[in-house]
């Protein structure tokens, strides 16, 4: 939440600054299988966000002491490039924010990956935010889900992520950077669409119960579209490989 001073007019004539309706996603594009060395990968553009996700594995767990002979382990890195923001040069390497996001993302991935299929194994997930414009954790996780499927990792579902927020009295979907800086609430969610299981939930700002319910409804509705884009990315990749 930014300072309320200098708050720009985020909503004008029922539209948002970028012309979107309250429940409208930014344009989303995903391409699967973009990196040669990785076992699976995806490149995503979501509004002005540009994200590269890659998966290595399953391979032998490293370091050795982390090995679990009964099931595979997941490692997860979310990181923002120092040049990704429109303002200052960021610091490279993990910071407290990225450490927390890596942790909650890892926990969500552990839910959908069939870890029992990979004893003593390790699956590494990398989410590199190359350009950021708000909602980068959602963009990273949505891309990494496609990269996991592209790597052929056994999963019970392909999850998606998106955030809802509040601007004044309006609940809005897929909050961008300028909205996030001045919004009254932000709530990123990760959903496994088969049963609408909630795998990641964070929130800050202020929401009453009715607003929370409305935000969840918006996320689940948008999720259908996001999931379609994810599936199409994989279909396109395999069709292309088979020369269709």
């Amino acid at each position: 939440m930014g300072s309320s001073l200098n708050k720009p007019e985020l909503i004008k004539d029922g539209k948002r600054l970028d012309g979107r309706a309250f429940d409208e996603l930014r344009p989303l594009k995903i391409e699967a299988g973009v990196l040669k060395n990785a076992d699976g990968s995806a490149y995503l553009e979501w509004g002005n966000n540009k994200v590269l996700a890659a998966v290595y594995g399953p391979r032998e767990a490293m370091p050795k002491h982390m090995t679990d002979p009964t099931k595979g382990i997941v490692k997860c890195r979310y990181s923002m490039a120092p040049f990704s923001g429109i303002d200052d040069h960021g610091r490279s390497g993990p910071n407290r924010r990225s450490t927390e996001i890596s942790k909650v993302a890892k926990e969500a991935f552990e839910n959908v990956i069939l870890l029992n299929d990979y004893p003593s194994g390790m699956i590494e997930i990398f989410m590199e935010i190359l350009q950021s414009d708000g909602g980068t954790r959602a963009a990273g996780i949505t891309a990494a889900s496609v990269a996991l499927a592209n790597a052929g990792i056994h999963m019970k579902d392909m999850m998606y992520a998106v955030s809802a927020g509040r601007i004044d009295e309006h609940i809005v979907l897929d909050v961008n950077m300028i909205e996030d800086n001045y919004s009254d609430a932000d709530m990123p969610m990760v959903i496994a669409p088969r049963n609408n299981d909630v795998l990641l939930l964070q929130m800050d700002g202020g929401l009453d119960k009715g607003q929370f319910d409305q935000a969840v409804k918006m996320v689940l509705e948008a999720g259908k579209k996001i999931h379609e884009v994810q599936k199409r990315a994989l279909e396109d990749y395999y069709n292309m490989r088979e020369g269709k």
Binding site: E100, K103, D197, V198, M203, G206, D208, K209
Partner: protein, 264 residues
């Protein structure tokens, strides 16, 4: 050790199947909560919160510093957590791990989102503001650090006095007025084990938990949430947790207010 944990975990699971918890606690009951404010006289504010066997000490210090470039009209909040080695046999030395970073950041998030500290009141002069350092020291781990952390941090802030500031220097020996607190948040952390939902998990419950969700409230407004662990939650389960969190807020708030009153 692992065998003992497995046995204890099995015991917890069996009891939950019958809708029971160790110690006869109800599913939506907290363990005994004790909050004591003003325990460290050298700190500007302090409090120790016990939730069952979990003990968290929070210390608040104020330092005159530069404001953040994007908020020149506000003071700063810096929250840190230490999972001290003396608190639990499995805590290890070294740089902050993801658990301690998450702990500190989630406590910071609710306090910030609910505007608990009146940040505008922390401006000292042009380009000088108070930085409020909240340090969370885990002294004993017994499950549910987050709720104990919120209680300790909130009580320490409510207990804090502002040092005298003159000619660019803070005099920590002369603290005349109280830190201006404009809102009180409380947190409730729920767990899910084999489909059972329970509030305030103890160490044996937390070790086998599938999921946890922390819900931070002030009155009727949600201020922060954080899901942890790899399990899933349904939308309905989350809705019920929010309702319970609203019910618990008044009780937790009065514990805080009493603790601060007693310290005066």
């Amino acid at each position: 050790m692992e065998i003992i944990e497995t046995v204890k975990g099995g015991y917890v699971r069996n009891m939950l199947k019958e809708g029971k918890r160790i110690g006869g606690r109800g599913m939506m009951d907290f363990r005994e909560i004790k909050v004591k404010a003003g325990v460290i006289e050298h700190a500007e504010g302090s409090a120790q919160a016990d939730v069952g066997d979990t003990r968290v000490l929070a210390g608040v210090k104020l330092m005159p510093e530069d404001p953040m470039p994007d908020t020149p009209d506000q003071g700063n909040i810096i929250t840190n957590a230490e999972l001290l080695q003396l608190a639990y046999e499995e805590y290890e030395p070294g740089p902050p791990n993801p658990e301690s970073v998450e702990f500190a950041r989630v406590v910071d998030r609710g306090i910030r989102a609910a505007s608990c500290i009146d940040l505008a009141s922390l401006v000292l002069e042009d380009k000088k503001v108070w930085s409020v350092f909240i340090d969370l020291y885990v002294l004993n781990y017994g499950g549910n650090l987050l709720d104990a952390g919120y209680l300790a941090a909130m009580a320490a802030l409510m207990n804090a006095k502002v040092p005298k500031y003159e000619n660019g220097v803070a005099d920590h020996r002369q603290r005349d007025k109280s830190l201006k607190i404009s809102n009180i948040v409380t947190s409730t952390t729920f767990g899910k084990i084999d489909g059972s939902i329970l509030l305030d998990m103890d160490i044996n419950e937390e070790r086998i938990a599938d999921t946890r969700l922390t819900v931070v409230m002030d009155g009727n407004v949600l201020r922060a949430m954080q899901k942890g662990l790899k399990g899933s939650l349904t939308i309905q389960e989350i809705g019920k947790m929010i309702d319970t969190s609203m019910e618990k807020h008044a009780q937790l708030k009065s514990i805080l207010e009493n603790a601060v009153k007693e310290a005066k």
